[in-house]
Symmetry: C2
Amino acid sequence: MAISEAEAVVMDVLWREAPRTAEEILAEVGPAQGWQEGTVKSLLNRLLKKKAVQAERDGRRYLYTPLLAREQYVQQESKGLLDRLFGGRVAPLVAHFSEQRKLSKKDIAELRKLLKELDDEQH
Amino acid sequence: MAISEAEAVVMDVLWREAPRTAEEILAEVGPAQGWQEGTVKSLLNRLLKKKAVQAERDGRRYLYTPLLAREQYVQQESKGLLDRLFGGRVAPLVAHFSEQRKLSKKDIAELRKLLKELDDEQH
DNA sequence: AATCCATGTTTACATGCGTAATTGTTCGCG
DNA sequence: CGCGAACAATTACGCATGTAAACATGGATT
């Protein structure tokens, strides 16, 4: 089962730092998302069921730790989009952003550097 | 309201060629997706409700045409992913694929070309 | 011990989605 | 003109999601 968007928000907190208690998570996302305690608890439970996080008892509360690595999640999500919209190829995606003028100077510089590195590896 | 994945499959057919009848759409996606007639009709109706397609009567059936441009859809989807996963910046996304060794030779060549063009535009 | 508080667990409920069966409508044909 | 076929529109239904209220439970407090 896939991780939903709301669930991903919670994962994000845990990816930044773990383990964390439900309370800490609420403190971090509640205000921004307008979520109550119950909401965060539910999301955590769904994530538990999906084996995306792990809970370890600590006195009367639990400490939550991600089991799913962020890298894995990012991988799935971006591959999905790439396959659905760009025939699985990266260049068309970048071209798309380029056409939309969504490449910042920094992006361009970094891309250049990246290509250069690939070049060098190629000895 | 956003366009769901199943709905996007239908849109894809219409983006390839429009207008089309429900029957033609079914013929094109039914086998691959394992969808019946009713399924396609429902999806078309939901797309109508979302103003993503338009239906024009043609005798006893309808001809469906996209109202939402593919470009627009791609834009929304990819911006969403970029924002959620890569802080809205393109270079990190490409770096991600690079690390995963998902850049084909062709990708690299095209990226190089793209950067070169950007360079040239820059007078 | 009875109570309260902090936490987690269960249940709820509206909405959207995937998938389709059912029902309604309009032509063309006998 | 009435009927059946071809379409479309409506309704259905189970499951996921977003959001949360209600309930349970195990210490801490009086």
